[in-house]
Symmetry: C2
Subunit: 673 residues, 2 copies
């Protein structure tokens, strides 16, 4: 690559991702409560856009009359939300450095529970992106029916853009997302206000001309059906935990700011969810395959194709599309925590030049895109997979808080058994363990245990209701997936532990191996790159030999002749080219045998295989030359005490002066080819 194209690439990178940030700039990225609400609450608030609809989609099987039941179901969900909110306020104060289900499970139950919570949350974050964006695109397509056929493509585009924005860093993305969140809030409360006014003045009328409405069924209104509707509606609670994961992103005092934001968020969420459910009932909205309930409500209030209708729909679409951003904040952060504990690949814990965990962001974007394609951007198809993860993590987090406060019941509590804690580095690698901090006495421990215990109990029950009522529709998949993920996490962890053990120096001293180094040049054909490799070998000031593996008899003849002609040129210091037979046209096996033979001769020494490497300007050009090097590398790296050296020879496309100069008059005797 020439210097100018590299500079252009760098400039493009900066334009898209922003300038690199120094490690010290980390603190500056803290966000205010107003921005925090936008960043962390958009998921929770946006679920009002589909929660009511998902209740009705279930109830419609028992006929339109059963829609009445949506009201008591919504109130039950609101009550559940109040309990969870009270419980999570406690968590935020108890874990000021971030009290997601992962940390709470880990410190109170240990690593296995932490990995279960981690698997549940990661699954859920991916689904949040897929569900929110699918629903957002459905809102857009309700307003502009011409887009119905392009829902998948639009959803994929949105995920792509969102991934890029998040790769720029959390502060910028906070700003970007504040506007749509507040725009939605204004529009939603305006809608409820206008509707209330119309209701009081007797002008509230049912919605007309609903296209593709689902035909009401004639199923009996069983308790099971009601539970299914209730569990569908519980998707309204998804996203409530986001703030407790994100406490460190807030300004000081972090816990107070985060708790305040949580309370505001829940209040707004309950108001909107109840308001919209009541309103949907009043205007007799009915689930349809091509128009969302929000769209029907807005049409009933503002009239078809009115400006306000489109503004309301835009606001809903925007917050839904932006809600996915909560996951873009949380998924990479959780993955980094798990990576630091050695349960996920370390790459997920590396902050890029913009101080974000770029691999986490990229992985999230990729997985969500797969879900969108697989479920054809259909919210109702995705719902059965959703919310299991959230409610599992709710349950684990709140039971963890019960344990936490139980430990804080005494004024001088005993020391808890030794346990690794997260220090931002993988503790199992360094082998450092720390004691858990001595638990401070909590005078309110009884009250707090009651609240957390109640929260844990109800969310646990809801989770089981969800799994049972949605099992056949897709919940089985998540029920299988989470244990599988935990298994993989432990495999990764076992690997890192094993490697750490085998690399560990403590108390063990390696056998030192100091000996001769046998140098072997691997000669493929004779060209300027080969001469560069020979020059390097000569520069080593030590003896070396050169071999050629005869995979093609005709070529071998030529290589041998050219070695004499261009490389040795009668110089006795340069070795003969040793030819190694290969009747099956294999490169790897004969080289392996040669290297193993030399290694035996070397005793306590090493074999250093020196290869030429043609370096091209671009990937596609490089791919045109990568015939055998990867295979050779894979073989050689498996033999202990064999060291591989690559002598590069760069080939550029630009019409610059080729390496080497024309022969000077004194060397005109060089034979022509």
């Amino acid at each position: 690559m020439t210097t100018s194209t590299r500079a252009q690439k760098l400039a493009l990178g900066k334009l898209i991702f922003g300038r690199p940030l120094a490690t010290e700039e980390l603190g500056e990225q803290a966000i205010s409560n107003v921005v925090g609400l936008a960043v962390f609450a958009s998921d929770a608030l946006s679920s009002t856009a589909y929660a009511t609809e998902e209740i009705l989609v279930v109830l419609v099987a028992a006929g339109a009359a059963s829609f009445n039941l949506s009201i008591p179901i919504a109130f039950a969900i609101a009550l559940l939300l109040v309990i969870v909110t009270l419980s999570y306020r406690q968590t935020i104060h108890a874990y000021p450095n971030g009290g997601g289900a992962y940390i709470v499970s880990k410190t109170n139950f240990g690593p296995l529970a932490a990995q279960v919570a981690g698997a549940a949350l990661l699954t859920d974050y991916v689904l949040t992106v897929a569900v929110s964006i699918s629903s957002g695109v459905a809102q857009i397509a309700s307003g502009i029916p011409g887009l119905q056929d392009y829902r998948i493509e639009i959803a994929l585009l949105v995920i792509f853009v969102m991934t890029i924005i998040n790769l720029r860093g959390v502060k910028e993305s906070g700003r970007v997302f504040a506007v749509p969140t507040y725009f939605f809030l204004v529009m939603a409360f305006l809608l409820l206000g206008v509707a209330l006014f119309q209701y009081l003045t007797g002008h509230l009328v049912p919605v007309k001309n609903v296209q593709d409405a689902i035909v009401p069924g004639t199923e009996a209104l069983t308790g099971f059906l009601i539970l299914r509707a209730f569990s569908s509606g519980c998707t309204a609670l998804t996203g409530v935990e986001a703030i407790s994961n994100g406490i460190p992103a807030f300004k000081e005092p972090k816990s107070n700011n985060a708790a305040t934001t949580l309370t505001w968020m829940s209040g707004i969420l309950i108001t909107l969810f109840l308001g919209l459910t009541l309103l949907a009932h009043q205007v007799q909205a009915a689930p349809s395959t091509s128009e969302t309930v929000i769209s029907q409500v807005a049409r009933a209030i503002y009239g078809d194709n009115s400006l306000m209708y489109f503004l309301m729909l835009s606001g809903t679409s925007l917050i839904l599309l932006m809600a996915a951003n909560t996951s873009y904040a949380d998924f990479p952060r959780l993955a980094a925590l798990q990576a630091a504990d050695g349960f996920l690949p370390r790459q997920l814990g590396i902050k890029g030049s913009r101080l974000v965990f770029k691999w986490g962001i990229i992985v999230l974007g990729a997985l969500a895109s797969v879900l969108v394609v697989f479920f054809r951007a259909d919210t109702t198809a995705l719902i059965p997979l959703y919310a299991i993860g959230v409610f599992l993590s709710f349950t684990m987090s709140q039971s963890g808080m019960v344990v936490h406060n139980w430990r804080r019941r005494q004024q001088n509590p005993p020391l808890i058994k030794e346990m690794p804690v997260t220090t931002g580095k993988a503790t199992h690698i360094t082998g450092e363990h720390q004691m858990l901090p001595v638990y401070e006495y909590n005078p309110h421990w009884k009250r707090e245990i009651t609240i957390s215990g109640l929260g844990a109990a109800v969310t646990g029950v809801v989770m089981f209701v969800f799994v049972i009522t949605k099992f056949a529709e897709g919940a089985w998949f998540v029920t299988l997936l989470i244990p599988c993920m935990v298994f993989v996490f432990y495999r990764v962890h076992r690997h890192y532990t094993n490697v750490a053990l085998r690399l560990k120096l403590n108390g063990r001293r390696p056998t030192h191996r100091i000996g001769k180094v046998k140098r072997i040049l691997l000669v493929d054909s004779i060209h300027l790159g080969t001469l560069a490799m020979v020059d390097y070998a000569k520069s080593l000031g030590e003896s070396w030999e050169a071999i050629h593996i005869a995979i093609d008899p005709d070529n071998t003849e030529k290589v041998l002749q050219r070695w004499e002609q261009y490389v040795r040129r009668g110089n006795p210091d340069i070795p003969n080219l040793e030819i190694i037979a290969s009747p099956f046209r294999q490169l790897v096996k004969p080289l392996k045998e040669k290297v193993e033979f030399e290694l035996e001769l070397a005793g306590e020494g090493y074999v250093n295989v020196i290869m030429g490497h043609l370096v091209m300007d671009s990937y596609w050009e490089q791919a045109l030359h990568q015939n055998s090097q990867i295979t050779l590398d894979l073989m050689l790296q498996e033999i202990p005490h064999v060291v591989v050296t690559k002598v590069p020879y760069q080939i550029h496309n630009a019409d610059d002066v080729p390496h080497g100069t024309p022969p000077p008059p004194t060397t005109a005797a060089l034979p022509a080819n």
Copy 2:
């Protein structure tokens, strides 16, 4: 990887792909005419399974009465086939080493024409696989309606199995494919015979109960519609050229054997195609979306669900599935020719351990799978893309033969201008050009030019008819694709030419660069792998230095302390660890600056960067450690005179004794960590 698992993998490889074959075994793989007919004619013969149906699918738009026209259209196509066969017999004799359109175009028109023919043929081979397998699966699904929903999956499975079979080599695949080809021929002629008997005895009755028949349209029977039906029927000719590409696979005398096989093939093809078209007309078969015409004909003759009906359908399905094999013989062979000429990646020209061009086989399988998924295994949807490539190559090949025989009109022809010929190696790489052979006088040149010219003219006209009549349905895509492919071929060629030029030794002598080698150890952290790297550095017997890039201040502190503790241990011969600052947590940039600085100091010398490399047992484990090495390698390889050495340290999962031994009593003073 442990030795036993590697041995198991090798054994599995042998079981699937067969034992490796030595280069000398190449000759043994020649095939008899009987096997040759099965290998190379299955494509041509199998097209009788859909050609008649595709004619009817077009004619149905003008009402069922227009089906009468299928008879004259079929006779026109049969006449076309006679002309092409006579013409190709000449080609086979003129090019005994293989006279595909690529070679004929190249030797008579030059490289551009050759690449156009190459692009046309490669496109066509991929389509042959997709069309034949889609049609074959449609036949199966006609007989077993329960499989209708799994057509794509079955087609993909068949492609996969066929790819594996072909990776074993041509002789085995010839044997495998001989049985179904002859089974089909027996079944097809039996069907025609029984039908003739029924006709003569007055028992031939129309087919009943055709499901999902396409409703006849009311379009006017225009000339354009007739031309569309004709061009659809011309798919019967696809595959006729296969033998001329495959002459070297035949036994000696290759040309005579190949020409005989071609004549037999064409005779059988004409008989079957005309017979089936007449029969379809007699039994009033009508195109349907769920039942093929062959299935209808067989039902009419043998009765619903009779054994003979299923045998006929099996034969047709089998030969269609196997027809794709023609492409598996030709695609890799052509791609290897183009690779040898430097227009396709060299990898396509490398024969694997089973003497087959494995990359060509794999690429073909992959592309055909994509087409099957994209067109949902629907033959009629694929037809508009098909046959353009074949007819383009027919036209080019036969016009090439006109030029060829024009050059042979004189008894002592002049020498043609210097021109590269294929020698199995890329001539532009070695720079060797050969003279074209002096053309022998051909006493029959007038007659041969007439036949080839007529063939070129009619196939050229058919190609234009095809492009025009099918343009909107998909022919536009191939019309764009072929020029794009030729462009890419030339880009690849320009690249190889450029590289060859820059590596060329002829008449140029490189500036020799002999100087000191500065050795730099890159230290990431201190573990047993690091000590192994230091041991290697000590073994070099030369001075070296060690650097650490401070991407994490806490870690740097520790690395520095452990370097003193475990590596230097007070030994003044071991250098201090030099710390290189990196405020933006970058690895690449600080290392680059360091290396460039040292390179400047080195003058005419080299910088040798020595890195440790942890080698894991499996790919997934390796991926858990590949944090930065790839990026570092990419950066370092671009700097001339910088040589990278990797010191491997193998980590195995098996519970063997870890490397290094416990500290002997004398070193008990080694400080604990």
